[in-house]
Symmetry: none
Subunit: 65 residues, 2 copies
């Protein structure tokens, strides 16, 4: 359908943190480390793709070489 990655449902840092049961700051570190892609608001806040988060949640132990 859409080639745009922007047509994606986005999650806030706290929402992702709640799903993983970690601190929102930890999610930020994942984004900085490139383990999780982030879209920025015009104010610099991060938003995360729900599909990507769910995929990571579903895969028990995925190791990024």
């Amino acid at each position: 359908m859409s080639r745009h990655s922007t047509e994606e449902t986005l999650l806030t840092p706290s929402e992702v943190a709640a799903l993983f049961r970690v601190d929102p700051k930890t999610v930020t570190r994942w984004a900085k480390a490139g383990k999780l892609s982030a879209i920025r608001t015009l104010g610099g806040h991060r938003r995360y793709r729900e599909s990507e988060v769910r995929r990571l949640l579903d895969v028990p132990q995925q190791r990024a070489v």
Copy 2:
């Protein structure tokens, strides 16, 4: 096509807000801050250019420098 030189799809504040996963009020602040150009209805409501919004969304990682 169109008889207009620049046929542009306009988005409402809530539509833009949904794409960025922010509050519509936040989009208004972006417009006030000049981060996003806005077209005004005759009643004063803002409309945003879809192409501009998509361009901003597709920016992978914008750094706050």
